[in-house]
Point group: C2
Chain length 168, copies 2
Amino acid sequence: MELQEAKDRFVQAWGTLATQWGINRTMAQIHALLMISPNPLTTEDLMAQLQISRGNVSMNLRDLMDWGLVFKELRPGERKEYFFAEKDAWKVAKQVAKERRRREIEPVIKLLDELRSVPVRAGDADSETFHATIESISRVVNLADGALDAAMKAEESLILGTLIKLLR
Amino acid sequence: MELQEAKDRFVQAWGTLATQWGINRTMAQIHALLMISPNPLTTEDLMAQLQISRGNVSMNLRDLMDWGLVFKELRPGERKEYFFAEKDAWKVAKQVAKERRRREIEPVIKLLDELRSVPVRAGDADSETFHATIESISRVVNLADGALDAAMKAEESLILGTLIKLLR
DNA sequence: TTGTATTTTCAAAAATAATTGAAAATAAAT
DNA sequence: ATTTATTTTCAATTATTTTTGAAAATACAA
């Protein structure tokens, strides 16, 4: 396989994977391109490589910066902006975990806590099943939340070691 | 909060969370309803409670059964089918992990392995950055894959114990 | 200031995904 | 075999999400 073909396949696949996980395809493709580019890229570069509009690039770059995955570089004497991404995939994963936790898991934990506080009507199957299920989900969501938090703070090597122990 | 309001809020929130993770809203809502229902439900029940069409219920139930999250019950002497869901959230999480691993992670690992085998052109920044990034992503994806595999096989209590160790 | 390069915004258009509903299929009962 | 109950399928419709493109905003330079 040629390098160019490999790059294209990677950008393509990353976009597809992203949509399956609720992330905008183009956002993932821009991120992928920046991850494999040795130098920062301009809006024009991204427009040309992905064949998309200026507005699309602008909006998705803003989202990527909000996610803390892409950064802006200003070069003295130049008006246009350059963008680059964190290339260490472990740092990227930690950042994504951090944001998804904050944006999505935290509100769910809050709701589950509210639902847990709804009084159980003993003898009422509906009420009892509801509570048992919410309790069960609550435990698992808190477990996942804790796991993400631990992963976020840990080093890759530490996780790897722990995992090996868990597996044997 | 009334029980009915709590149920509605749960079903609603579960649907919203699902879309954020690339899962069809209605599919998640059907699953949520079945998880909090003490008895199996019919297509009619689901149509009425979620105010959706017969076809929609049928297709999403099939998907849920494909995911191994919902099961069919046939009652002797009755023509219509009853559906119920696994209520243990830890088992549900393991099943989801198993399916996402098989459907989504495995193909990515396969692609990354192919991309890793593209020869590096020493001195070519493009080629070198591409390879470094693919290597980095490969390590993290394999780590995540291993973590899901371990979680899938482990007991909830075991994960909890490991997590506590990891966090202190 | 005024002009110029560049980015951002956002209403409209296009693309994608989900849903409907009725016909076809299935399968049990008569 | 025919009727009846129920489920499935899928083309057409509807809803949602994404993208475009051009005007407005920004911000630097002359």
